[in-house]
Amino acid sequence: MDDLSLTLYDLCINAIDAKATHIDIELLIDDIKKIISIKIKDNGVGMSNEQIEKTYDPFYTTRTTRRVGLGIPYLKQLTEQCDGLMAITSTPGVGTTLYAELKKDHIDCPPFGDLAETLYMLIIHQNAFDFTFSLGVNQKTIHIKKSEIIEATQGLDLYRGSVKKAIQSYINDSIHQIKGDEDL
């Protein structure tokens, strides 16, 4: 993965595949502790402790199309490479929470990438689910809710390039409110 926005997207797809109807996506940047943390909490089918252990194995997947599952092993490797940590807690029938932390200034820490495009892709995803994206930068936080964007654009074809640009512009402006001109 070239950037963290793609990793976030991949983790959300895991939650969607686990039949989540709501996903909380939290991205926190702490410039004092020099830490980036990612939390993805879903209300999907959940996993047993045994399944959680297996998710770290790249040769384990619940899919039948192929025999490898690389998303979680990749993130684990990335967090270890960046002097961070990763943890998954889950309860079958309740949901799963994934937490990952990376050292912000580590040379292997990837850039954030296009967060607006990731959120747009989640908005247009054909599965019915809602999400709340929270971005915190040094104590300031913004929240972007899929349901609010869907309501604001009701009646529009979300697959039109101009609508895509408008949604991404709204998301980028929201992000800009707390991060200013400085690159994340």
């Binding site: 993965m1 793609l6 997207y9 991949d10 797809i13 595949d17 899919r63 199309t65 192929r66 490898v68 599952g69 690389l70 998303g71 990749y74 495009e117 990731t118 892709m121 247009i124 995803h125 054909q126 609010e148 964007i149 309501e151 604001a152 654009t153 009701q154 009646g155 529009l156 074809d157 697959y159 039109r160 390039g161 101009s162 609508v163 895509k164 408008a166 949604i167 512009s169 709204y170 402006d173």
Partner: protein, 122 residues
């Protein structure tokens, strides 16, 4: 676009002018967005498809994000399913290739054989 209110204003203005896509499409475009697809660059491909649908004023196209199709080494993979149910799977798609596929296959109905991984006829 500073707020949700701005987004609503844009919606109200656009609704007067646009013709809605029909819910039943004549062509379905599926983009493989598993871990392998995402890592190989599927997201900009999907983004380009959405841009091109508007740029070429295409109607009756359904775009879907799908999981891994089991051919990870050939990602990004884009599958086109036409109105007759014929499947064409394009592999190692790039932004430039998808532009070409939209123009040639989606608009003119000409399959670009050199990019095809495999095809199935109904």
């Amino acid at each position: 676009m500073k707020s949700l209110a701005d987004l609503k204003k844009m919606r109200d203005a656009s609704l007067k002018n646009i013709e809605m896509r029909f819910s039943k499409g004549t062509m379905r475009i599926q983009v493989g967005m598993g871990t392998c697809g995402i890592a190989a660059g599927a997201r900009p491909i999907l983004s380009q498809i959405i841009e091109d649908i508007e740029a070429h004023k295409l109607k009756d196209i359904i775009v879907t994000q799908v999981g891994c199709m089991g051919e990870c080494a050939y990602e990004p993979i884009v599958e086109l399913i036409d109105a007759d149910g014929n499947h064409t799977i394009y592999c190692e798609v790039t932004v430039d290739k998808i532009k070409e596929i939209i123009t040639s296959h989606v608009i003119d109905g000409q399959v670009i054989e050199k990019y095809v991984l495999y095809k199935t006829k109904k």
